[in-house]
Symmetry: C2
Subunit: 208 residues, 2 copies
Amino acid sequence: MKTISEKTIERLIIYRGLLLNLVSDKVKNIFSHQLATMTGFTSAQIRRDIMSIGYSGSPVRGYDIQNLIKSLGEFIDGEEKQPVALVGLGHVGRAVLDYLKGRRPKLEITASFDDDPAKVDRVFQGCMCYHVNDLEKIIEKENIKVGIIAVPADEAQSVAERMANAGIKGILNYAPVKLNIPSGIYVENRDMTLAVEKVAYFARTASE
Amino acid sequence: MKTISEKTIERLIIYRGLLLNLVSDKVKNIFSHQLATMTGFTSAQIRRDIMSIGYSGSPVRGYDIQNLIKSLGEFIDGEEKQPVALVGLGHVGRAVLDYLKGRRPKLEITASFDDDPAKVDRVFQGCMCYHVNDLEKIIEKENIKVGIIAVPADEAQSVAERMANAGIKGILNYAPVKLNIPSGIYVENRDMTLAVEKVAYFARTASE
């Protein structure tokens, strides 16, 4: 498999997200310079990224949006549906469930976990909530490789270790804590505080 | 004010977030190469970033963590407390409220908005929920410059325009939709789906 940088993947995912929103607007074609305006990346960068997945547009008509979405999807999603495990059904966990529901056919949260008796054995957005004690059993049985951590900071490390032991290969961590995880497992941290800080910085300096 | 790139700000915010977690671990000093291991950035990059805010460590003892946190804070936060407005108290909005609560003294969600009668006029995490009809009035009265959008996609554009009219200078948008906003207002988009897609990609290709 061709190696592609993390930043390129991020951009390809952003392009697809934007294009999926455009589809409902009934636009058929798009030029790299239009994608540039929408994303803040340069046209050259965008053409290079899209070329790297083996797709190209027409100089006259630009990219065919439906075909480009299809090519991006084949690259980003692969062929098989990927099941995802979510640990923690507080506000963050429920938010992620709501976001994913029905929006990406190849990506589905098939199992969620919590230790709250009011949540265990109930179904949320079509997804069964199991007791967190059953984490390894379910992840192995369903052959899940993608995990989302949405538990409090002091529980995140233990959940991450259990995920790693059960065969998870990629972790999206919403807990505001640095995880110590064996190499070979991809970890992406999303502390929601940091995004607010960044916007606050630019809001402040814009007014100065 | 010295211009500093968006990427540098992002990294400075990440450093501070990590250092704040270390404080509770009672570590006093840290070297750039240790920060490099924790963040994935190079030591040279980290030293350059920290130098750019006018702080420097000792070659023998590294950075004094408390002082570095203080310098980073002065740069990231500025002097004044920044009030933040949050629109939408669904799971995403509640999650952001939970994250920020008590974690950044200079950044506080002082007003939230919803149109659900069960939420309006109630207090969530110490933050009053107003009816969304009062958005402009409250934002102007409290001189709020930072806004967070956590409403469904089809309501986000209208909320963003109202925020802009009321004087908001930076918007953190969690709605999965591209906003059309006058230039001069900083917009950061955080569609939670994209983060899951990225982790799923690396989980899949790690196993191939």
